[in-house]
């Protein structure tokens, strides 16, 4: 006859509530672990998915994710000339927060190096990659945009042609993919007045020096659009991504770039390292610490619950002792209940998590090794929590039966 189950059967409601409480607590522990994993996954997602071997960034910066990096757009062409390089793409990325349908819309604007890169590598769940150089975008589902929806960003309107899932930046905001030119248009969008003022200032600068005075035509050109001035370079980009030809040695290619004084080169692994050791490091440690605290708190709460359950049964335990029950009968009763509450709580946490975690605003990643580890921890918590109750049960005098 199992005393633990008999007691539970008799106090069903109480055990159900207790298990529910423990289950919710464990769900938070589980979720905290998932948020921790999600943070890491989101931080490194883009670096992983974009499929570059090497990253060329502004000299001596840790960009483009961990800090700002600015390199000339034509670095792309220089990189392509290096032996062993299969492709080089411009990387343009910045976050905008605009109003859309009366709600704030945060997009990580991601430039695709048109025409080489049309986003064929994107994990699309609907629609298609970009098909024209302008006014199209592929949006992540988390942005809440529908296929075919039109979004005004800056002076232009972009149509959502494709949807991805789970493509978010390190801050958890959804990615929007545009051609690089569009991405820059969004980034450098300035009002007409600013453009007029800039042109006027440019004209003044030119006519103020001898070049403008001896060549009036030059002064004229300077007052026009900047794209028509050959002396002006293309707008800057954040970085250039390089893929290495199959069979070529990435380290050797990287060595070539390392000799260029205007850039710093990182491998994809190094780029991920920068992200994890720098940008998300504190958040990661914070979550890790919080998780440890939660485990400790769960242990204490569970120990108190088991202890109170034991206190309530103290008279019965004394009676069993008086009748000559062995210590292992009493300890078994308490330990089994503790394990059962732990196990049911864990199952409940897992089950609730299936529903709750996908609804969290940021990615929650529940991995099997983490689940197994947590199961181990819950087992440990249950055993530890029962110790206090068992200790109390061992100390109760059989005489106590007579006291009441």
């Amino acid at each position: 006859m199992n005393l633990a189950l008999r007691d539970i059967r008799h106090n069903r409601a109480r055990f159900a509530l207790t298990t529910l409480g423990i289950g919710l607590l464990l769900m938070i522990v589980m979720g905290m672990g998932g948020i921790y994993r999600g943070l890491i996954a989101e931080a490194t997602l883009l670096v992983d998915r974009i499929g570059a071997d090497l990253w060329l960034v502004q000299a001596s910066t840790r960009g483009p994710f961990a800090e700002i990096s600015r390199v000339a757009g034509n670095l792309e062409d220089r990189a392509r000339a290096v032996p062993g390089v299969a492709s080089a793409r411009r990387f343009v990325s910045h976050t905008v927060q605009r109003e859309h349908r009366g709600r704030p819309l945060r997009i990580v604007v991601q430039g695709l190096s048109w025409p080489e890169d049309r986003g064929d590598w994107l994990p699309l769940i609907a629609g298609r990659p970009l098909r024209q150089a302008h006014y199209e975008m592929v949006a992540d589902r988390s942005l809440g945009l529908a296929l075919g929806e039109q979004v005004r960003l800056g002076k232009d309107v972009y149509r959502v042609v494709g949807l991805t899932q789970g493509m978010v930046g390190s801050g958890g905001d959804g990615l929007g993919f545009f051609s690089v030119a569009d991405a820059q248009a969004i980034q450098f969008d300035e009002p007409p007045e600013a453009t007029r003022l800039e042109r006027a200032a440019r004209f003044d600068r030119v006519v103020a020096n001898d070049l403008g005075r001896v060549q009036p035509l030059l002064a004229d050109r300077s007052a026009g659009t900047s794209a028509n001035i050959p002396a002006f370079g293309q707008p800057l980009v954040s970085a250039v991504m390089v893929t290495v030809k199959p069979g070529a040695n990435p380290a050797a290619v990287a060595d070539t770039f390392r000799r260029w004084p205007d850039v710093t080169v990182y491998s994809t692994a190094a780029q991920k390292d920068l992200l994890l050791s720098g940008m998300v490091d504190k958040a990661r440690r914070q979550l890790g610490l919080f998780r440890v605290l939660l485990v400790i708190i769960s242990t204490i709460i569970m120990a108190l619950i088991i202890y109170t359950l034991t206190l309530d049964k103290l008279h019965d335990l004394a009676m069993l002792k008086l009748m000559g029950a062995r210590n292992r009968v009493l300890a078994g009763l308490i330990l089994q209940q503790s394990l059962l509450i732990g196990a049911l709580g864990y199952a409940l946490a897992w089950w609730l998590g299936q529903y709750a975690f996908p609804r969290f605003p940021r990615l929650v990643v529940i991995q099997t090794p983490d689940l197994i580890a947590l199961a181990g921890i819950v087992l440990g918590i249950s055993v530890l929590a029962s110790l206090l109750g068992i200790w109390k049960a061992m100390r109760v005098e059989p005489n106590k039966v007579l006291a009441t």
Partner: protein, 237 residues
Amino acid sequence: MNASTPNRVAAVAAERLTKVYGSGNTEVVAMNDVSLQVQRGEVVALLGPSGAGKSTLLTALGLVNPPTRGRIAIGGQPVLDGDQPLTDLRAFRRQHLGFVFQKANLIPFLTAVENVQVALEINEVTPRQARRRALELLDYLGVAERAGNLPEALSGGQQQRVAVARALANDPSLILADEPTAALDSHRGRQVMELFCRVAHERGAAVIVVTHDHRALDVFDRTFEMEDGRLRPGHSA
């Protein structure tokens, strides 16, 4: 039943038991130089005013409240010398002793039959055998039809009979009952007392009953009276 038959081993033999509670100013001598022998098959009443030390003697014999001085042997086996156990007292309790108290003290989350069954199972009886024997006992005590009920659904008298069944479960050589009828009406009280006699006579157990109920004294083989921790044979025996 003759207590002085020399060739029989006493069910319980207590020799010069003294129990002192507390020390210094708060010292209470609850039991003073008490000696007692009860044979198997014998039913003995323990009378006396409140605070006389009856429960102290009973719990000492029950091996849950060791005396300060004196020796106790049960079924011929020495078990306590002063407060020093001479054997595993808990194992001894489950194999040889049965307890009944003023309150039934049934385990609230076990049904009537389970309450009896648990006493057998902690004594290594297989669950199936334990159940069969528990049902037999409940039948013997006339509460078989309530076997599946939780204690809260039983009347006081029914609870007490289940408690008696539990005390009898392991065929104890000594049954100790502390005011088992105090919570019952006199009719039910008498029934329980007669039950003890039947158990003692049919099963050969020794029974010691603490009671205040002088009307039921005729069922006992002997009576003892306690006063101020001292034990003397009662007059109505």
